[in-house]
């Protein structure tokens, strides 16, 4: 179940968190870091469409 909700303002500092009873924190950390490191210096039209689709489904 995925939920995406807009914030009134973009946050100055963001974060990503993964939680699980059997999580391997080191592996999860790498997965989260990969998202943080993915190039985001220009708009990603396909990615935005997917994000907005989940946002609409979350309304």
């Amino acid at each position: 179940m995925i939920h995406v909700a807009p914030l009134p303002e973009p946050p100055d500092a963001g974060e990503l968190v993964a939680i699980g009873p059997h999580l391997d924190p080191a592996i999860a950390q790498r997965g989260l870091a990969a998202v943080a490191a993915a190039p985001a210096d220009r708009p990603d039209a396909a990615g935005l469409r997917r994000l907005h689709r989940y946002r609409r489904l979350s309304d």
Binding site: M1, I2, H3, V4, A5, P6, L7, P8, E9, P10, P11, A13, G14, E15, L16, V17, A18, I19, G20, P21, H22, L23, D24, P25, A26, I27, A28, Q29, R30, G31, L32, A33, A34, V35, A36, A38, P39, A40, D41, R42, P43, D44, A45, A46, G47, L48, R50, L51, Y54, R55, S58
Partner: protein, 274 residues
């Protein structure tokens, strides 16, 4: 909104009571008991921020789900500032039907946050899982909590827990399985609190109960990984993470900035249930 399901006497109310003790938690509860007298509502009343009872039958069998949507509508009002609504199903409820009712509830401001199936390790294979095929109820669960395993003979304990896990996995490989005696699971698996501290002028009974030191508050903490973000994230990579979370992650959540075609926007994202 989180549903707590489980066979009669499995320990659903114990789990709910454990969640209610979480510091700062503002929890709304929909309690469904099978009978004219709503016994479970009485058990949890007085410890709870907002409660709505559905009695007279099992929520998934009553006409119009026994008023589930009306109860959710009431509890989801922003005035109440609840962190989570927990629907405690009757022991007779069918989790698959209940999960469907919740998923397709039309109530605004409510979104599904998972189905927690509570299992009594001692009675499970005599009452619930009695056929060659694993029960369908496992299919609805996002988190399975195995309780009462401390009451099993030591020689059988590990094997029984392992067997329950295998049976759950055979029906639903996406469900996460944890052992939690007396419903003691990490509330972080289930919900976030808006405030880490107790409200000063509200809920004195809940605060008193949370202050009790009866040795039952403890739980094993779920494991977590966090990265701080100082820059915008790529939306495609973010959605990839939510759709395919790291192995063992029951929840992934975040507060992010995303670069759009004209400006940057902020989003809260949540993925739960593995």
């Amino acid at each position: 909104m989180v549903a707590v399901t489980g066979y009669l006497g499995a320990g659903k109310t114990s789990l709910l009571n454990h969640l209610l003790r979480h510091p700062g938690a503002r929890i709304g509860v929909v309690v469904n008991d099978f009978g004219a007298l709503n016994v479970d509502a009485a058990l949890v009343s007085g410890q709870i921020d907002e409660v709505a009872g559905i009695s007279g039958g099992c929520v998934c069998c009553l006409p119009d789900a026994g008023g589930l949507d009306e109860a959710l509508e009431k509890l989801a009002h922003p005035r109440l500032r609840l962190d989570v609504i927990v629907v405690e199903a009757s022991g007779a409820a069918d989790p698959v039907t209940l999960a469907r009712l919740i998923r397709f509830s039309g109530v605004e401001r409510v979104r599904p946050g998972g189905v927690i199936e509570v299992i009594d390790a001692v009675e499970h294979f005599r009452t619930v899982d009695t056929w060659p095929e694993p029960p369908l109820r496992y299919a609805a669960a996002t988190l399975v909590v195995i309780g009462k395993s401390d009451l099993l003979p030591a020689a059988e304990r590990e094997r029984t827990i392992e067997r329950i896990g295998q049976r759950v996995c055979a029906r639903n490989p996406h469900a996460h399985v944890v052992v939690g005696q007396a419903g003691r699971i990490d509330p972080a698996l289930v919900f976030d609190t808006a405030s880490p501290t107790e409200p000063e002028d509200e809920l004195p009974i809940a605060a008193l109960i949370r202050d009790e030191r009866d040795g039952h508050e403890g739980h094993e903490h779920a494991r977590a990984a966090t990265v701080a973000l100082s820059e915008p994230v790529a939306p495609g990579a973010l959605i990839d993470l939510l759709e395919d979370p790291p192995h063992g992650a029951y929840r992934v959540k975040g507060r992010v900035r995303v670069r759009g075609s004209r400006n940057q926007r902020g989003y809260l994202v949540n993925g739960s249930g593995g």
